[in-house]
Amino acid sequence: MARENDAPLDPPRQYARFRHESPITRISLGSGAPDAWLVTRWEDARTVLAHSATSTDMSRPAFPTRSHVAMPPGFFLFQDDPVHDVFRKVLTREFMVKKIEALRAPTLEILDGVLQRMVSVGSPADFVEHVALPLPSLVISELLGVPYADHEFFQHHSRVLIEGTVTGEQKASAQQALSDYLEDLVVRRLREPQDDLITRLGRQLSTRDAADVGSFLLFAGHETTANMIGLGVLAMLQHPEQLPLLLENPVGAIEELLRYLTIAQSGLGRVATSDIPVGGVTIREGEGVIVMLNSANRDEAVFPDADVLDLARPNARQHVAFGYGIHQCLGQPLARMELQVVLPEVFRRLPALRVAGSVTYKHTAAAYGPARMPVEW
């Protein structure tokens, strides 16, 4: 479904009609993909995502995708329990709130560096290339222990993994390239340990599993946040009257930006592993489901005036921008921290920041955001 050209920050308007007329409906994905249920309301979205009889295994023929591909165990988002649980539990301590809070000062320093470089290049500059993409890439590289000098390599393959128009073979080959690269790093760290996540993964898992988990985190850790940083800046430029709210209460403001912008534009796919009654219909065992997070986050039943950005919205935190259920984003404390640091600080440093040319968007990627965003200041 396509977005309206005049509303690049809003989900396709069709979802509002679905929510009112047929909140759970059968849709055709075309191109040989299996038909699936589309879930558009917040409550139904949470019911499906929290249901134990759902699979995230993309290699199942009923999985709602055009590119069926088996991901290795270390890409645990695409595994069901117990495999998913084993890998997630290896990582939960790494992303706990107090560990991520300790990265706040280093993140601000990294932001300082990228902003200074952009300013020295001079305006107009592409905000995605200079700030939105390098910032989270530098943070996740440092956390993992991946040399940032290799960023063009891992950013390229990450873009393939998240692109909706590529084949399963192309995705498998991008995943393989990232994992091979990480395997080499794991082997080196086992020989010369460092205080980084790759070293710790190498000690706890087989070399291949450690490499797969590492490449999954590297991929998931920068593409997503980069999109939110770019969209967040664009949303604030459209709503300058709310800038004081972002500066005074970044914690609450970021929750509303996550709700309003919800980058996961192609939704979350699942296959029912037994019958799931939800919202008056029954999703039968073996059928595919797509849960539209961006539609759920605009559900008027939960968020009054849902299409309005309101950085003071009291229940913004009930959004499902990070998903819901056992697969909910593991890196959410990191994403929140980065957004809380970056978005207010960008406007403090560059109070005259503005768009200087036409912004292009990633219409076919699983995660929506600006592809190019010329700015001046």
Partner: protein, 64 residues
């Protein structure tokens, strides 16, 4: 208000720790939930209810 947590269900999303840090914490070794106060004072009730509502694993139970 009585609060209880179901540790085996916890997926360490960390939201309760961010919303109600006086009531919830995370274990150092695996990031799973630790209940600091099973009978929190009224001033903390709203945060506890919100934590229970947004917990992705429904691991927080509240009875009044």
């Amino acid at each position: 208000m009585k609060v209880s947590v179901d540790v085996p269900r916890c997926v360490a999303s960390g939201q309760c720790v961010l919303i109600a840090p006086a009531v919830f914490d995370q274990r150092d070794d695996d990031g799973l939930v630790v209940l600091l106060d099973s009978s929190p004072p009224p001033a903390l009730h709203e945060g506890v209810r919100e934590s229970a509502l947004v917990c992705p694993a429904a691991a927080i139970h509240v009875t009044s």
